[in-house]
Amino acid sequence: MKAFFRSASPFRPSPFKMLVSYLILGFWAFLILFPLYWLFITAFKLPAAVNNGPFYIPFVDFQPSLHAWEYVLVEVGVDTRRMFINTVVVALSSATLALVIGSSAAYALTRFQFQPKLGTVVVFLLCVALAVILSVLGVPWQLAVAVAVALFVVSLFTIARRFKRALNNNDIAFWLISQRIMPPVAVVIPIYIVFQQLRLLDTWAALIITYVATNLPIVVWLMRDYFMSIPYELEESAQIDGASRFRIFAQIVLPLAKPGLVATFLFVLVFCWNEYLLSLFLTNANAQTMPQAVVAQNATRGPQWWYMSVLVLIMIAPVIGMAIALERYIARGLLVGAIKG
């Protein structure tokens, strides 16, 4: 009986501890799987089987039916397919773009020294503010932007040069990362107006640009710490051998950072895939994404749980597949970023 409480080796838990561990882990797994199970069986229920009280086991409690699948995939199949393709295109391209742009910025922040003059930054902000005020006051925005750019270039070589104070890499990194703090709701109206002026509303481009911008901070944050953990010597010797910066980045640094890249990519992909608020503002018919399809099932007749479940299942299947395939990378990739903080 005593052996039950004693472990065979210091690193193997005793049978008693193992039992308790399994009980707790199993309990949490149940808490996670039961809602998913409910989602799954609801997708096969007739409206009556949902509305007349809880039925738990298919073929015993209720007769499963494919009516919801038929509705989603055949009756409104054109819409579903369009939204699904929108989601795939937007999420994949924004995640890829964010990864490319963000990781090169993160690389630059760990390997080069930047010293933007404080004066330049101030002048720039003033010029942006000027453009905003001019365009709000009724000046055509093209003109306002042109004036602001001209003023910026002129003052860049005159006023801004006089300031001696300069910012450093940490300031730039902090600035990039702090963009994540910004709640989307704070900028969504101006973004809407900008895309309206550029006639890009309800297109993939609008969503992709917005998603890239909102997810860049995460990429910079995670990848910067990842690049810091990669030794610099390798690159130095490649540089002496005459490789260009771009070649070093593409052929030495990126392959070394693969776990970080994969994890970050998946992370950003999930964010883009599931995003609802911004896509609600920026699209209305053509470029709608799947989360909107889910919400649209909450019609005047009340929520159509069966259609909703089917849509959610369609949405999560690809992501879960990827997550399971890349599970090892997720942990490793996120970790290096997190350790250095």
């Binding site: 797994a29 989602l39 809880p54 020294q113 900028v187």
Partner: protein
């Protein structure tokens, strides 16, 4: 370089401007091509431009919007500059009850909590004074933290008090994250043991993170249904079959928090598990040889190694959690009344009522709040990490 192609001209302009903006200090002795010299700027410019285009410019414009009243008159949009009117309406005027809630004299427990907070803040300031100079940053931060604590105590720990959207948001963030961290850590500790079949748990525990928050909202609405949901027998057994989430403020808030907990504990779990598995074996072995029990090993060996990870993890989640909207929007529609409404949802509701200036003002208050908490957190953390 040949004839002046328009792109080339643009390119040269870009390099001149970028060189005036960023100067590269490293490796000047190596003979390098023009492209090579522009490399640092080329690496970072795309990111800077995207962020400028989509963040800085809209942020400034939002600031302007929050200071104006916008009217839609017959297809035309009219801007009227109203200075701080939108903010005044929120902080002092007709919207004050929604934002701050109803305040009342705190109960004894509330007073005790408040005293504890005041003591802590005073100690923090005194410590700052001792290290030289007048700690203006700390005094300002303490004033704000004290005010927020008063708000929390006067709405949550009082007889007639009722929390507004500000307190509800903070409740979701701080209580939610604490619970998520503790549960995530507990599960990670269990999963880090050498248990057969733990890969199964790792994969299963990851799943909720992958579901769209909108889907989680509807899923939990199904589960929380006391008549048709799967938990109906439980509600009947408890005599709660006529209970409605839509009518009970705390019930609705707890439902939102459970949904958030369900979705985001996996994030804590997966990163903490990786940290636990990445820790060195030798210190643990040494501790075992020295006869330490498992609590001592956790407290003095494991915890210090996962503390930096935890700090970043909590910061990421804090920033994200302040922006919560989908879950309360779908699950409870912010109701009953505004009981489960978060600041983002509030801004969204006001926006739908076409008060765009007011919406921008709420968004700015939220931005200020998140920035403030993130900075206090980072500062406190840095002091902690440097001193130990």
């Amino acid at each position: 370089m040949g004839a002046q192609h328009p792109f080339l001209l643009l390119w040269q302009m870009a390099t001149v401007i970028s060189r005036a903006t960023f100067s590269d200090a490293r490796g000047a002795h190596i003979q390098r091509s023009r492209l090579e010299r522009a490399a640092p700027a080329l690496f970072i410019l795309p990111a800077v431009l995207v962020v400028l285009f989509i963040s800085i410019f809209p942020l400034l414009m939002s600031l302007f919007l929050s200071l104006s009243r916008i009217r839609f008159a017959g297809g035309a949009v009219q801007f009227e500059f109203v200075a701080l009117n939108n903010y005044r309406k929120l902080l002092l005027g007709s919207e004050q009850k929604v934002l701050f809630g109803v305040l009342d004299t705190p109960s004894p427990i509330g007073w005790a909590l408040l005293a504890a907070v005041a003591f802590g803040l005073a100690w923090w300031i005194v410590k700052g004074m001792r290290s030289g100079g007048l700690p203006i940053g700390r005094i300002l931060a303490s004033a704000l933290l004290g005010g927020l604590s008063w708000l929390v105590v006067a709405t949550l720990f009082s007889e007639k008090g009722r929390p507004g959207t500000l307190v509800v948001t903070m409740l979701y963030v701080f209580v939610g994250i604490t619970l998520q961290y503790l549960i995530g850590l507990g599960l990670a500790l269990l999963c880090a043991q050498q248990l057969p079949g733990r890969t199964f748990f790792r994969v299963v525990f990851l799943l909720p993170m992958m579901i769209t928050p909108v889907g989680v909202g509807y899923l939990f609405r199904m589960l929380a249904d006391t008549n048709k949901g799967p938990l109906m027998p439980l509600w009947v057994a408890l005599g709660l079959q006529d209970f409605s989430w839509a009518n009970n403020a705390w019930g609705a808030r707890i439902a939102v928090m459970i949904g958030d907990l369900w979705q985001w504990t996996p994030f804590m779990f997966i990163v903490l598990l990786a940290a636990l598995e990445g820790q060195d074996v030798e210190p643990v072995e040494a501790a075992i040889v020295d006869g330490a029990n498992s609590w001592q090993i956790f407290r003095y060996v494991t915890l210090p190694t996962i503390l930096p990870v935890s700090a970043t993890l909590i910061l990421i989640r804090m920033i994200e959690a302040f922006k919560i909207i989908d879950l309360p929007n779908i699950l409870t529609n912010g109701g009953p009344g505004t009981a489960t409404e978060t600041l983002t949802l509030y801004a969204y509701r006001i926006w739908r009522a076409l008060d765009i200036g007011g919406s921008a003002a709420i968004a700015y208050i939220l931005l200020f709040l998140v920035t403030f908490f993130a900075m206090v957190y980072v500062r406190a953390l840095r002091a902690r990490l440097v001193s130990t």
